[in-house]
Symmetry: C2
Subunit: 425 residues, 2 copies
């Protein structure tokens, strides 16, 4: 028995079923990632992390739990501030699941007409086939969308959950309300970890998180170049890993990669052929290991140069103001960033997202926009009405794509996306 | 040209398309309603109101607008307190639409995977085929579910809208927040109507609305009898009319009908044959003219004896505390009733609804429960997990039904519902 298998058994996982996933993941990763030419060497770290995704980091988390008494807090949404967990000496890890492998398990308890991300997350939990779900001391849910809001009730039958009620609008009173939610979240995390959140620890956590964002921003900036030194799928992978890796080590590794990309920039190295069309993706998140669209686009004459998504710009672009001097000010700054600067379709109205897409399309010199919707995500699907209208007005070619985690629509997507990219020529 | 046609033209309606609806509605109403035997005479009023649904009340509303300068406020949810509108001398009218006729119009702007109620409402507006949408001076939306929350953004492109942000939870701070929303709503309605909401007018509005609820409650109580003196479909129709009729006249008419039912009670008159199975419906609302399920159930050996729905008990069961002495106390009482005592699946958690269903099943002596879901309503669909579980634990036979506004599934529903009712024997 490998060390991983022993760990998974100790975690009470369904090891036999999980083995099926362990068999298919390397093949999928190889197909999407290792077929690429001229990848930066700095990708080695991220290859390693994802290569043993259910081994390396879980083992590390368990060690920190056992040896240092640390608590692991699992989250499902970029509106939930990691800083609070860090400031209380805890570990935050994202739990959104991106594989069809987990979907049937979710469908045992959820309606079929639920988005695959939510179904996969609950499936990963109830089928006991994801170590991260087994390790967490607390799950933190939110009321961002109907599917998640109601799914947490089912998840909470089998795990300790804490729910943050995110305002559905962004009026001045909603910021006050979100501050109150963050304050209550601090109290809950202090309880769970047994540690106080102090001015010092919260300030430090804000800086750590900002540094991670800055590194990701630095990485994204290379995609604005005419000669793009890194593929879209590689950047996506890094964004996905950002959700569960140690933030300080992750930042260091991203910056190391960026040093290498600086050299590529000087040497005008591009991983794409001349004439490759620059595609901006907007819409629902692409959780690990959901690499389907990037693979199709980048195998069809396109380069993904920006993701206006939770697994992309929405996660890293805005910083928390670091000038807060006391807890109240810091909470206010957190609320400002986590409510004000994430333009999720869960808000009404959400015009700022449309402005973001147009701005990003310019900054990243997009030739076209693909509006991606995970099947049954009603909020992004409805907002697509405004995205398509605004793109038409701005003269930016745009198509809407609806997909899920299966491969059933791969051929259809290849045809549609291929035709769209061809049309851009 | 009839008076109605002249009015519809003046309202800028698409009269030609609307005529198609005018042709099919009487037939549908006749099939469902006029085939019943031994209906109470008190139904005559409601027959008349629905018989000229796009004529009588719209003409009355226009007259009140023109002659008394009254404002008409259209709403889509029972969480929005009518009392505020009444207290400012305005008229409140429900706008939720229940016909497949309007769905294709809604699908022009909304995802197909949106619930038919929302699609029909937007279709009725954009196709200009419902006079109520044309008459309203203001639409009031809310953030109860994803579908509605995002649909209002599209509707607001073509009409003045005001949005109330309903809390997604029911903690003490959420009641405070809902009070604030109600206070802001008062300000908005004062602006629109030009009238102040006073202690006197708000108190009077609370009493008027409570009287309506008491009348409906009195009506529903007859359905607890062994000999049920009125059909489920008739009670449903009355609940549907409650949303748009003049509240004082409506209350009078319901009470008049109840006087007649009192006599039937004494005489032990039942409109159902002995052995008819008593069915409680729970789930999503049945907006006018959605009578499909009641017709199927009551033609298959069942009697609908209670609707744990927005078009049912959720609308009328809880009263607003009338003891408030000033605006603040009255707003607090409104918040308590409109947040605390409506157990919509939009809340998390929503255990109180499960308790309601079990309590109502006992009070109304239900033989079985049908959990009804409008297709693509994720919140009620997900909550169905808890409904079915709780019914199994309580030993109450239960089936889940998913349907929309089309008649395509009528045969399938007849078979399933027929088998369910047979199984209860």
């Amino acid at each position: 028995m490998t060390d991983n298998h022993l760990m998974w058994e100790n975690l009470g996982m369904d090891v036999k079923t999980h083995d099926i996933l362990c068999e298919v993941l390397p093949q999928a990763f190889g197909d999407v990632y290792l077929t690429q030419e001229n990848r930066p060497n700095g990708m080695d770290y991220f290859n390693m992390v994802v290569g043993d995704i259910h081994g390396l980091r879980p083992a590390e988390l368990i060690k920190l739990q056992e040896e240092e008494g640390k608590k692991v807090v699992g989250t499902f949404c970029i509106h939930v501030p990691d800083e609070v967990v860090f400031a209380a000496g805890g570990i935050a890890t994202g739990l959104c699941s991106g594989s069809q492998f987990w979907v049937p398990g979710g469908e045992k308890v959820l309606p079929t007409a639920t988005c695959p991300l939510i179904k996969a997350s609950l499936g990963a939990h109830f089928d006991k086939t994801c170590p991260f779900f087994r390790i967490c001391d607390l799950f933190v849910g939110e009321t961002t969308c109907d599917g998640k809001k109601k799914a947490w009730e089912i998840l909470s039958e089998d795990a300790e959950m804490y729910i943050m009620d995110i305002p559905q609008m962004k009026r001045p009173q909603d910021f006050k309300k979100w501050e109150e939610e963050i304050r209550n979240y601090i109290t809950k995390i202090e309880e769970i970890t047994g540690n106080k959140v102090t001015e010092e620890s919260l300030k430090e956590a804000i800086v750590i998180s900002n540094n991670k964002r800055k590194a990701l921003q630095r990485l994204n900036n290379f995609r604005k170049l005419d000669n793009i030194p890194i593929s879209g799928r590689d950047v996506l992978l890094i964004h996905q890993i950002a959700f569960y890796d140690d933030p300080t080590r992750f930042t260091e590794m991203v910056n190391k990669l960026c040093d290498e990309l600086d050299k590529r920039k000087e040497e005008e190295v591009s991983v794409f052929e001349k004439g490759t069309k620059r595609i901006l993706l907007t819409g629902t998140p692409l959780s690990i290991p959901n690499w389907k669209l990037h693979q199709i686009i980048e195998n069809s004459g396109g380069a993904v140069i920006c993701e206006e998504m939770c697994t992309g710009i929405r996660y890293c672009e805005a910083l928390v103001d670091e000038s807060g001097e006391n807890i109240d000010e810091m909470v206010e700054n957190l609320a400002e960033r986590y409510l004000g600067h994430i333009n999720c379709a869960c808000f009404t109205p959400n015009k700022a997202r449309i402005d973001d897409i147009i701005r990003l399309a310019k900054e990243y010199k997009a030739d076209g926009v693909i509006d991606v919707n995970l099947k049954f995500c009603n909020i992004y699907d409805t907002e697509g009405y405004f995205v398509e209208k605004a793109m038409a007005e701005a003269g930016i070619p745009c198509i809407g794509i609806e997909t899920d985690y299966t491969d059933e629509d791969a051929e259809q997507l290849k045809t549609r996306i291929g035709a769209f990219i061809e049309m851009l020529s």
